[in-house]
Symmetry: C3
């Protein structure tokens, strides 16, 4: 992580923040094609949690661009990812979004593959047919602290520099032994960068997110960096109440980091005074995860512009943005709780998601309106305000690494 | 008006009327893009009537191409038009089709504008932020005899030569003090020129418009110019019954006029013998407007190929065609009655619109069938008949001014 | 027929069957445009059966690409095909999918044509208007053994070499005096070649067609050529039971033939032992057609890649594939029974279609999954198996005649 960062802390203070991007970046089909190719070659994508496919033969599908990938646990307990394309005539093999299977059998001509992707049977194939030449095409896959990550690149990008940024936090949360409490997915009629930019500032939280502001009662309207200051000032007290050096490492300041292949950030912030976790009333909604306490502090991490993770004392939210077309982006979110917790007894999934799900849906409307306005001939790039510094950083990173390198 | 007209009266009698346009004019995407750019730079659009926004803060949106414009009355009573694009990050500011507002506040980051478009508040902006640089982008707007007109051109085209053609008639009707009784909107799956051409001839009225023919009992099948002759022959009697010179000016013959930027026409015609107004049974449906009498005569005016106005003794119809794509056009119509009339007592909105609304919907089906047929390889331009002379004029004007100049 | 065939019997045995086509053939828009133009100029299309329009004035519409054609029987009993485009302003004349008419009258301006396409009336046309110059544009049409065939080519391709391949079989079935028992139509989200390829092999029947396999109890999983062998071995017995030389000609082996303009095949196969016809329980579902017997043998013919005919002892199925876009193909099927049979007494239409209709709908799902998988970057052409030899032949024919000549 260290050397890949160009500026670890967000200290562009005296520099001008610049302006929003011009119209073409949100509407040009050709540029979108180049962006998609770049994202494909340079990104890892968090696509799920291994608790979703706990049993051998359990699988789910993930789709990106024109790809469909089968993520399946095999009989040895390993998680494999295969392109969902039969080696005979190209048919999709799995047509449900998930389930439990003994073998991967194509519905067209019944070619059948083991869960590790090797071809088991090709009916009526000639005697000398070499089945070893017809395994399913593998997709790059890594499982890290329970999170299942895919890459569609020809040569997979370095995984540690992708996720290492937040590894310690995931481990402290014991994310590996978590389980999924809820999933939610919706489509946004806006360019993926508008969705990313929206996710990088809380300047809009005051005007637009009533529930979120209820959960964060001390939220300074549109000034997320003050959260960090609060976290810092709370640090000494909390560290003393805690177990010492290990925890003290948690309370580092907000970081924004980027390399030529990725854009990260990590923020520790106080949710609110006298608050236990991020919930509608501030009270706990599930058992504590890992080594956390109900201290009202949360970690917000960006594993990439397209993958975000929020760690609260008793639950986590992972949400992903998937570009679908120049003007369409899908959002998928899943909420994680302690793996041993029981639904209906230890937690209520609707309470676990009661703050973040409406917030994401409100964001959908906001960015759709931004897309529409930006497509007007009257749109001119506007000035970024101090609390939008991460957006400004992202835009500069995007222009330098995706647009320029893509040319 | 005078010098801009190339031929004021429709006297192309001995000239051949020519043939309908070839397929490409109704289906070519590139040509459509050029047409849209031309219309944008050269046209005014009637978008509503000021009675719709009688109170300060009342507004409605109008959309054209990728533009959305807020038409709003300010506290000084003026009608303003602003592009619906926030100067901060480009979001749409108003997201409802209309309503009543105190300020124009962006739902995204709460930048707030006065009704005249000046930026009032930009939360958390720096001390030295110059708000005067961030007013909403203005759209050209004129209010004429109560009709609100917009132009999306960089330099607004001359307004008088656009609407002056019909000003006297609008004044006689006292359109400025009218009010809207009903609105109706529908989409047509056809190129905008087919919708315009349909509106320029009544050759199809006999075969296709049963209700319209009931309201116009003496309609000579497909020969609208005879109406004018009838109007002329009625002229003497009517003028004597009227107030003299002023009214006599009304009874000019049908005119078709065009300049390099616009195409007009104006027709005075007898609706039918023993008829009071254009209604299903010929009887009055609302109080008299302006200086009119229930004389069964109507004025049909084309302010531009895209904007039509029909003035009957007791109600008016304004209807607009808005190109949406090469094969899609929206039609919006609104019906006006005397401003002091009370709905349910002085008029019944369903009776006011009972002739023209079904006629427009029948036209929708007719032009959709024409679009489909014209896209066949078997389509060949066909001959115009005498009663289609306005269509022929329009096609020639279009070819000369939009296609050639657009190249 | 003889000389147009390059290889009459399928004897590519020792040659490699090759691999499936690469991705671009199923997804490229430009290539699709060229294919459509080629199909248009080189193909006849079976569009219906003359029993559908038994009375003078009965008509139906057929659509291909942007064309709509009126197929109508005139007062002389002849079947005509006219492009559904008025010669005045291009409108569609018929807007229903079928019906009964005295004249073809355009709904727009009431130009009226006789059923043979000659212009009868053009209201308000000038005295010297030459109506003979404005007949409806004719579409190439042939009626053969009751089947109505259209060509959209400028110069119609040779008809005998198109349908002659299966003429004898159609005559033996007395298809000319048949009638339509049922029609069915559905859209497939896949390239037309995937639909054609699916129709050329039964390798998928075992895994994918439960009902079809019930009707064909002896079906060797994915080895249709064995049917032919069965037919051959049954030949002597059956011929002896039959009427001699005439019938013996029926039992020729499977043929696949192609010319530069078309691709055919013809297969005679035993449906199953102790089976009378192709039905769910193997029992008869309608009266015998023509000179057939309930012998459990069927003829499957491909009049072109897009037109298939299955002849069973008591019913026939004709089904057509119509390309609609690079990723969309329509399937239309109709079932024919003996012309004198009475619905509800002699046959039940749901039993007549009980095998083939679900089979076509299952095929729809299969090829849609193939389309999706082939669009993945992981797709690689896969090996054809022996029972896919017709598919391999078709691909080679397509590459040679449509792709190369189209360049």
């Amino acid at each position: 992580m260290p050397e890949m960062l160009e500026n670890e802390a967000n200290d562009s203070g005296s520099d001008p923040l610049g302006q929003s991007l011009s119209q073409t970046f949100y509407s040009d089909e050709t540029l979108y094609g180049r962006e998609l190719a770049w994202l494909r070659e340079n990104m890892w994508f968090v696509v799920g949690h291994e608790s979703q496919i706990a049993l051998p033969g359990e699988y789910f599908l993930y789709e990106f661009d024109r790809e469909s990938v089968i993520v399946v646990r095999d009989h040895a307990g390993r998680i494999n990812a295969h392109y969902n394309v039969c080696r005979h005539h190209g048919s999709r093999i799995c047509t449900q979004t998930g389930g439990l299977l003994r073998t991967l059998t194509c519905p067209y001509h019944a070619w059948s593959y083991d869960l590790d992707g090797t071809l088991r049977t090709a009916p009526f194939a000639p005697e000398d047919f070499d089945k070893t030449q017809y395994s399913l095409a593998p997709c790059h896959v890594r499982v890290h602290c329970g999170l299942i990550c895919l890459s569609f690149a020809q040569v997979a990008p370095d995984f540690d520099s992708y996720i290492g940024f937040i590894t310690r936090e995931l481990q402290l949360q014991d994310l590996q032994r978590a389980k999924i409490a809820k999933r939610s997915m919706f489509s946004v009629d806006a360019n993926w960068k508008l969705v990313v930019e929206n996710n990088l500032e809380c300047y809009h939280c005051g005007p637009a997110h009533r529930t979120y502001c209820t959960a964060h009662p001390g939220i300074p309207l549109g000034r997320p960096e003050e959260y960090v200051t609060q976290a810092r000032s709370d640090r000494v007290r909390r560290v003393r109440a805690g177990a010492g050096t290990e925890e003290s490492r948690q309370f580092r300041p907000a970081m924004v980091g980027h390399s030529s292949r990725n854009f990260h950030y990590l923020v520790r912030q106080v949710i609110g005074k006298d608050v236990e976790t991020e919930s509608v009333d501030g009270r706990r909604v599930a058992p504590l995860m890992g080594r956390s306490t109900y201290d009202g502090v949360q970690t917000m991490g960006l594993a990439s512009p397209l993958n975000s993770i929020v760690l609260n004392p008793d639950h986590a939210v992972v949400y992903n943005f998937t570009p679908r077309s120049v003007r369409k982006t899908d959002i998928e979110a899943f909420w994680l709780v302690k793996g041993t917790a029981t639904a209906g007894i230890d937690y209520d999934e609707s309470k676990v998601s009661a703050v973040f799900e409406p917030t994401l849906k409100e964001d959908k409307i906001l960015v759709e309106n931004a897309q529409l306005g930006i497509e007007s001939s009257a749109y001119r790039p506007g000035p970024y305000i101090e609390s939008e510094s991460f957006v400004s950083e992202f835009d500069r990173w995007y222009l330098r690494h995706i647009v320029n390198k893509g040319v």
